[in-house]
């Protein structure tokens, strides 16, 4: 959103409290959603749970097109629509719910830096593996992405998305990497996160912040999604404190809602951590 629009939204947001019927939209869970979108969606859901804000998850085939920025997930609150974790965090802050208020300036700088690290490395690696690795793209990404549509639209949309992502990878210099280097980058990123987490329960000791939500979203999705090979999940599993971090957040924020079928199993994802 442009700066003026953001300021306007914040003003409107501050006017009303959080309604009961807030909804989060994401692509279809069983057949359509891909690893990177699933990770982003889970990060937002975790963040909202950490704030104690109720939200219903609604799966739509055209979620990507409904979103104001073209990215999923997005939330529909009152009469406003906000997409992506960054703007959603600002939006909830304007409504008076924030997780990172207790941090001082240096810690906030660190938190932002680590969030960029996750976006820069983990998310980009997920996109690379999904769309630039030919085998995964053919077996998983293209069929899933285009599953709600009939021929020939499904081919057109899938190839268009793939072309768009490959262009982006090219612009940031990732197209020259091979799969091994990408796995290595993921491993280094996990190592950095693991060292930062240490033995603490959350990244900034006792209180969870949006960084915890983001890291949980990505790591949990990587661990519970079946791709063509298990190597990505193996890289994450080798860091035991990250595994226990994911378990802890799953237990604290998601277990009591498990009966509502939030994590219904499908052949694409397993329901809980191994």
């Amino acid at each position: 959103m442009s700066l003026a629009a953001e300021a306007f939204v914040s003003q409107i947001a501050a006017a009303e409290p959080w309604p009961e019927n807030a909804t989060l939209y994401q692509p279809l869970k069983e057949d359509q959603i891909l690893l990177s979108d699933s990770a982003s969606s889970l990060a937002v859901q975790t963040f909202l749970r950490m704030c104690g804000l109720p939200v219903q998850v609604s799966c739509r085939a055209n979620a990507e097109y409904m979103s104001p920025s073209g990215k999923v997930p997005f939330i529909h609150v009152g009469n406003q629509v906000v997409s992506e974790l960054g703007p959603i965090v600002q939006f909830t802050k304007a409504k008076g719910h924030a997780l990172s208020d207790g941090l001082d300036d240096v810690q906030r700088a660190e938190m932002k830096a680590y969030m960029e690290l996750v976006n820069n490395m983990l998310l980009t690696a997920e996109l690379y593996i999904q769309w630039c690795d030919d085998y995964t793209a053919t077996e998983i990404s293209r069929p899933r992405y285009s599953s709600p549509y009939s021929w020939p639209l499904n081919h057109v949309l899938a190839y268009q998305k793939q072309w768009e992502i490959r262009r982006k990878m090219n612009a940031i210099g990732w197209s020259g990497k091979n799969l091994e280097q990408v796995y290595e980058d993921v491993s280094q990123c996990c190592q950095a996160l693991s060292q930062r987490l240490g033995t603490q329960p959350y990244f900034f000791n006792k209180q969870p912040t949006e960084l915890d939500a983001l890291v949980f979203g990505h790591l949990f999705t990587i661990l519970t999604t079946q791709l063509t090979s298990d190597e990505l999940a193996e890289k994450v599993k080798s860091y035991t404190n990250l595994l226990s971090f994911c378990h802890r957040i799953e237990q604290t924020y998601f277990k009591e809602h498990d009966r509502e079928g939030q994590f219904g199993s499908s052949h694409h994802s397993k329901s809980s951590l191994p």
């Binding site: 240096v106 660190e110 960029e116 820069n120």
Partner: protein, 255 residues
């Protein structure tokens, strides 16, 4: 290390009191100084390599390494390690801050130097044109500018921000926030992790030094950076302590 090393670095030449005007080259040069590695610096100015080589590039005994992160890893393997005193957590912080620089500051830097019409026409293009051989001087600046623009648009301009003017506002505000965050993190210390410079210092130096030193006609980001005294101080300290030989040599050439 006792044996002589012949490490050759290809990079862009220097100007405005800097050893190089190119961010990535500056990062490598700074790190080499911090780690005590002797580099034979070969500027690509006025050679065909301005268009053929991907700069910076390190040659050592037949192997070639490009990209600052890879070059730094290679230097570390050769025992030129400026980070050996860092704790594991500080090493993780380094990675995180470098990601922050790349995501938040780099688009605005690219925009300031390559997309902003006044700066490009009055500073960047003449400089790169005058430092490229004929007939490449017609192509090199244009190619760099279009690469910069496409990078900004592909990574930052998601719909509905489809044109460059709306993206500008967003990237400059993110860059100013990033500079503020760096300034908070640096505080009153000489370097980011205490008294000795590390790879993070090299990366930050490489990104902000051109912004501080270049005589930009229209530089809102530069004005913002000049208000952050500790970052300007940081940059000048590094130049004074590690690069004075280069700048005094240049002055002697012209004197």
């Amino acid at each position: 290390m006792a044996e002589p090393m012949e490490l050759q670095l290809l990079c862009w030449g220097g100007d405005w009191d800097l050893p190089s005007v190119h961010t990535d080259s500056l990062v490598v040069l700074a790190y080499a100084k911090f780690a005590g590695a002797k580099l034979a610096v070969k500027p690509v100015d006025w050679t065909w390599r301005t268009i053929t080589a991907s700069v910076p590039q390190l040659y050592y005994e037949g192997s070639t390494v490009t990209e600052p992160t890879q070059i730094l890893n290679f230097l570390r393997k050769q025992s030129f390690n400026a980070d050996y005193e860092l704790t594991a957590k500080q090493g993780a912080d380094t990675m995180a801050y470098i990601a922050l620089l790349e995501e938040k500051l780099l688009p605005a830097l690219l925009h300031t130097f390559w997309v902003d019409a006044e700066n490009y026409a009055n500073l960047t293009r003449p400089w790169f044109t005058s430092h490229s051989p004929f007939p490449l001087n017609f192509f090199v600046p244009g190619r760099q500018a279009s690469l910069a623009l496409s990078r900004i648009l592909l990574t930052k301009a998601e719909s509905p921000l489809l044109n460059i003017t709306e993206v500008e506002g967003k990237i400059y505000s993110e860059a100013k926030e990033c500079l503020n965050l760096l300034s908070h993190r640096l505080g009153n210390f000489r370097f980011f992790f205490g008294d000795t410079p590390t790879s993070l210092d090299a990366f930050v130096f490489g990104h902000i030094a051109p912004l501080i030193k270049a005589p930009l006609p229209s530089g809102q980001l530069q004005k913002h950076l000049n208000q952050l005294d500790n970052l300007c101080q940081f940059c000048n300290t590094i130049l004074k302590n590690y690069f004075t030989d280069a700048t005094t040599e240049k002055r002697m050439d012209y004197g």
